[in-house]
Symmetry: D2
Subunit: 374 residues, 4 copies
């Protein structure tokens, strides 16, 4: 379905980096969810470029909700968010030389030359602002039913952050704290070292990548579907739609490769009458279904492809090799700005999976439904 994600709660994206506007349509939302401008703005502000380590393009993200909200609450009919593009400088972009590691060439072949190439067009990271705005609507609803999502920069430019706590209450606090930070790391000092490294790369006209890690708390056991709608399938499908993402692992992920079953298996145990697992190497998912433990995953983020250094490329208009120097405004690292995007898209996937499992009222009633004997 190309630009539409989800089964029961769906999001459809539209827009290009330098067109009139970007936006999205969210369908299938439970009627009666509160829509709070402050919460949408806060999430958008976390994605917005803000400092030396971000692109100088400063879009105000003056979004407008065109439909689906009435008297401050969702109606249940499609909610369209439109965000005008205001700070476009299309002159920066050339048609012909394919920027390495960008979609330019692949898109040129796919769309037979009819693509809007300016600023990456429909493939621009700019489009993720719509995802975040949508997250600003869905995330508070999840929070209201006790589900919290947070992401930290676990690794960037050779520096590693600490790990999420294995204690669920502490983890919830960490998530809360991350969602209030401009540069979301568990250890602030580490963050400063990361920022310094990013600035160093920027000075060398270069960029850096990283790994970000996400945790979801409060998700009940039993969510996700067998096989093709496993929770891992749904989440990875959504996350890999973000251009910079090159890897995803759940729980211990690639570390599992070197583990033995006796180490990796998460034994079940009882804790205050609740079934939990002693370890959480599986990242809260067994056989594609949530098991009631925090869902955790890591995402590999590649270095921003746009760098100011001269690069070798092919010009698909002339059909010749040439040297390319990218002008325009770019981020030397997107690990910071990708965090609210990941949080938001995760929120959309979780909302959809919950509604599939329990029906639309679950987004309002939460555990009253999933614990129900109904």
């Amino acid at each position: 379905m190309r630009n539409t994600l989800g089964s029961n709660v769906t999001i459809t994206l539209f827009g290009e980096s330098h067109g009139a506007a970007i936006g999205c349509v969210i369908d299938g939302l439970t009627p009666g969810l509160e829509v709070d401008d402050g919460k949408i703005q806060k999430l958008l502000s976390r994605r917005r470029p803000a400092s030396l380590i971000d692109t100088p393009r400063r879009e105000p993200d003056n979004y407008r909700i065109l439909s689906g909200v009435f008297n401050g609450k969702t109606t249940g009919t499609p909610l369209c968010i439109m965000i005008p593009n205001e700070q476009t400088r299309s002159g920066d972009y050339l048609f012909g030389p394919a920027r390495p590691s960008h979609a330019d060439y692949a898109a040129h072949v796919k769309y037979n030359g009819f693509e809007d190439y300016r600023g990456g067009g429909h493939f621009s990271g700019r489009i993720t602002a719509s995802i975040v705005a949508a997250g600003g609507i869905v995330m508070p609803a999840l929070n209201n039913i006790g589900i919290f999502i947070g992401t930290h920069i676990a690794e960037c430019a050779g520096t590693k952050d600490g790990d999420f706590s294995s204690d669920e209450a502490e983890l919830a606090d960490e998530i809360k704290s991350l969602n209030d930070k401009n540069f979301p790391v568990l250890c602030n000092e580490t963050g400063e070292r990361m920022i310094a490294a990013i600035e160093a790369a920027a000075k060398e006209s270069d960029s850096v990548g990283g790994v970000v890690r996400t945790a979801i708390t409060g998700l009940p056991a039993g969510v996700g579907e067998p096989w093709f709608d496993s929770l891992e399938s749904l989440l990875s499908h959504a996350l890999f739609s973000i251009g910079a993402v090159k890897g995803i692992e759940f729980g211990k992920g690639f570390e599992a490769a070197n583990a033995r079953g006796s180490e990796f298996n998460d034994p079940f145990e009882l804790k205050k009458g609740k079934v939990v697992t002693g370890t959480n190497n599986n990242g809260g998912i067994n056989g594609g279904i949530s098991n009631g433990m925090p869902v955790t995953f890591g995402v590999a983020v590649k270095p921003t492809p746009s760098i100011a250094r001269p690069q070798k490329t092919v010009n698909f208009l002339t059909g010749k090799e040439e040297e390319l120097v990218i002008h325009g405004r770019h981020d030397p690292a997107i690990v910071r700005r990708i965090c609210p995007v990941i949080d938001s898209i995760t929120a959309l996937v979780i909302a959809d999976a919950l509604v599939t499992a329990y029906g639309p009222q679950v987004l309002l009633k939460g555990k009253d439904i999933w614990n129900s004997d109904l």
Copy 2:
């Protein structure tokens, strides 16, 4: 869509480990594709347990094609493959104690206790035989149009295999060779060390995980859709449906985290008049769309959860903790048997993406269509 995968070429799975039969329905196949029993059997035999390092359950996989094939060719209408379960020994399974790292507990919550728990039921790896049978139909069609898919065990029990060749012709040869091997590694000696390590773990009533790596050659540039149907989204969605998979990375994947843009970007260049990239760190995909280079990805496979050692768990019938000793027949490692499953599901995803991009005739005509000026 739960047990259905794909947009234009779809597969729907059914069956439980100890039920009457497992199987699948493939819809949207181009009419006129040859269906060759020998090729289906060969692929199935690669997945079938065969030696000490595999489960002693030996299913003959006597599949029957119930529909969709006429005079040895696909008709274009739904093709149903049924594989009877013949070697079931349900007495080995208990209802109550949740096997750690298995779907038992999550499924029990999800299905309110109505699940067929015998041998993992619908969550059993047994179900993948249907995926492989489907691969046996789709893979030869891709081969006929010049697309080849192969997977090797890159890492297992601490031993690493070599890397795929960066030369496309050599890579094609490697793929061919892998598809003929019982234990698919690039370096046979490495393979022997892996087998020894697996056997050692088995003797200790333990299991091991690994990493397998896949390459696709011959895929034209321009395949995949923006955002939610990116090639990475489609592939990861399919691959994460396999229970043992805990991580996926494209190209350099998690290594990207520590790279700089100037190292990671793949410069475009001309080679015999064709646009190629000098390196392939992006794994043949830019912005979610194939760029004409080999598509490469790695998959983290967790250690088989079923081990013969006593494990701590909770019995969800009694609601009490207990010690569990798993009987039954199990694989100490599934890295070998997962390779044809990954090849097959990859073939299904690629066939679907091609039909979406070029229409159904592409599976018969290949480059006559994708190079066409039509």
Copy 3:
């Protein structure tokens, strides 16, 4: 999605008239629904040819449930029903001359000559046996939550049956009675006249069409989605998949064309505290959503295309016009046999719409959920 219908409760069809077997996969069923062989057999027997007015091909419909049922109840995982074809006589069918009003020619073009042409192949009415078997599983679940579906032959060969009662309790009795009749009409005497007319047509080597009318009682208000998943859209989508159906109308349908708003509008009123409408010209649906009144629709059934008279046609192998005499075994009218097919496919659509509106547990708990303040 070609051969798959539904969003949350789905059915995927497979099979050809003269292949090994036909069948279907039902996914998304609530776990815990009772599966009663007697009820499946009863519904199948209503579709089965039984007398002079039906085809002499007598398939025993020895269906097998291959998956998705455990201890007599649905597991919630895909339920595959397979029905072997036992009474095939493929020699009756020729490849080349397109039978008028059949899919032969259209399918030949669509499938480039690779279609299984025997007995209409995948386009055969035989395939509807799978739909009815699926109905035999879903219908009892709907009945358990107070929803009843029945169809009568309203018009056949110039003879008209009476109308459904406008009193809901009486209507429920009529539905019950129809579901026990071999020739489902409200007025038995009318039925005898219809049978005589069908036999008369058969003697003249001809066939007849008709109109059948369906009523659904017990469906709560609020089911169906706006615009593209209106209840009318969902039902008509499903019903028009049956080859013989050429028209569908809800409520007064085409009569509305000549009515004025003041006559046609259904005024709301209170009846024992419940909101009802004084008339039901809209057939229980307003704006695509159920309004709590019985849902009613009529279906136009064309005369069976296979007739024994010589017909003019084109032979697509020779490319020449020729005269065709159809041998084989055919129904002079399918108005009788189509009723359980319509009931079954309607049950599948309603089950899906309910699960979309209220979540999967609704098929077990019915009004406990839709009346809930949860």
Copy 4:
């Protein structure tokens, strides 16, 4: 999928009658289709209220294309059309008394009272302006590949128009002529009688319904899918999403009920080397697949529910019966304005079915592809 229609070419609707804007997102369009403002405006103007027989609400339909068009052509990425609501007078609308035959009550139950009730909200006919704008993009593309769609008012207020010509060339002329008419009838004199009847009803504070009939020429044989994506299923699904539609019939439709097979079957014959049928009682579709003849269908349109006469109803806020007098601005008949809506939604369905059958380039290349030996 609620507000999204289609498999490969999709449209997603959003908006409410009295919200900020309505609009749609069209995805999957072939890159390179011309987007001609004049053609969009012309189609929109045919839907726009224009005379005494239409509502006095006069929206200028100042649509904006926000994305998906570059240099006057489609890019292949999502095309968002936004149409601001400018002439809203929400004061006309009350919350509580359910307007008979409107979605008010059903929507109130479905959305638990959170619906935007003003002017019917998301259920308003106003939403169809987006469908028509989308039609203004897709229809010219179909015309360029030789496919034409036209609709006439076949019956209104007791007056019948003539029938479409059975000669395909004449039919093409009729379609062309209908698309230029303000009141689309084949016989202008008949049209005047219809207008007089509509005006008469309006004077009596009443409304009238009608039947409109549509023809599609130039569609090749072989389009549509078996069973659940039959061409009839796809078209009826789309058409029944329009609130006023209560019946659909293909070809002779309900007349088939009284015909015999010997009369109704359409014999195949050769005409200038092409396979055609002597009659077209099946409306160009056999077994759900186009047979190369014009596709024809009729649509029953109910009388506009909003009438100025006092009506009995229930107020769902007070829970009491009351008398309702509807103020606001309404159409005494929508048979005129529904024609371009039906043409547009038909164009979307046909474009989608063509792309499914032949791949995306078919919308640019037409018969070069469907006649191709590729």
